[in-house]
Point group: C3
Chain length 156, copies 3
């Protein structure tokens, strides 16, 4: 047995302490807009990764959707819906030059900038290091088709 | 002495190059809203972590507060206050369905989405890698109680 | 040859698995506002870093500029321009207390909060792990001078 092999067998983890996990989550929201609590899915992936101390990136892979952290309270989600529609109205669709491309989703590109593309969450002692009410949401602003969220976990 | 112990004593750092630090900072803003420059606290933690090259995540652990990077200029903070109140007014509190839960802070959940939950800052040569005017702020939108910010540093 | 030297020569990478790259990109937008697609520059740096699995942070180093991910479609950029001007108008400049400092860029500090300071992008199998239309932009809101973007890549 060479020294190389001997060391590998002695220190499989300590010689490669960086762990990573990559996963794509798919969603199909039946309406144009909607919010989905994806926290349990992310918790499961953190556990699966074996990472004890590290960072977890969760981002929308589409530019008319968001990932954000806020409260799992239906009244608040209703407020977000009205508020985003006030700040970046869907209609009249002709008000947006982007919609001349044949799309009708310019407002969704604007709404996503307000709510954000991504969150980065700390992993501490193997768990998402969260405050009392933090929950991760997928925010859809142009649904009725299959779209993806990326989860990337790195740490040791 | 086994080979394992010999190697550990020879390479304590090189065998575990990933360092991490986790710290919770507590704040109690006496008014409903306010901005606190937390840069010196974060700089101290970066130094304490011993990380020379890495990333520093700073995030609000409450969903009615923000962590953001901008200018430490009181006139600008006054402008932010007026602007956020225009985009997401506190009153009338009955305009928000979230407030039917007994809360009066729906506007704070909206303001926090504009200003953001978190920042990720590069650590280069042991320091926050900042432009000339970048300063990290805790933004409170529903204060008068103790709330937390999480600092997570990883790197080598 | 000592055991230390022997091990270093056997395991140069495995003993130091964390790689990092730091780069500053300079831009000078000739007008007050503008969007620049910086994706090819970031892709080149990811390749150069040799990182196969990790995270790539890209942030504006100035507080009147943004880095964000959205569509490379000129009609949409026109819509962003009008929308941001509606949410945070440049004029009248006297409406902002920040401008009493002699600046005329208070609106740029507000616009940057809507569009965001930074993006964190996953690196998977040596490449930016992107959805079909994701492109990274530098968003300038107070141009006509040289300003910087920071790229920090860490991983293995």
């Amino acid at each position: 047995m060479s020294l190389t092999h001997l060391l590998h067998s002695c220190f499989p983890e300590r010689l490669c302490p960086l762990k990573s996990l990559t996963e794509h989550l798919w969603f199909e929201v039946p309406d144009r807009r909607g919010f989905i609590n994806i926290t349990p899915k992310i918790e499961k992936l953190v556990h699966q990764s074996g990472v004890m101390e590290g960072l977890c990136l969760v981002n929308a892979m589409h530019i008319t959707a968001s990932v954000f952290i806020n409260d799992d309270e239906p009244g608040l989600h209703h407020d977000y819906e009205l508020w985003l529609e006030k700040l970046a109205p869907h209609a009249p669709t002709t008000a947006y030059r982007h919609n001349r491309t044949g799309e009708d989703n310019a407002d969704a590109h604007l709404k996503r900038q307000i709510m954000g593309r991504e969150v980065v969450v700390a992993i501490t002692k193997g768990k998402l290091d969260f405050g009392p009410w933090e929950q991760i949401f997928y925010g859809e602003f142009d649904g009725r088709r299959r779209k993806r969220v990326l989860v990337k976990i790195i740490g040791e």
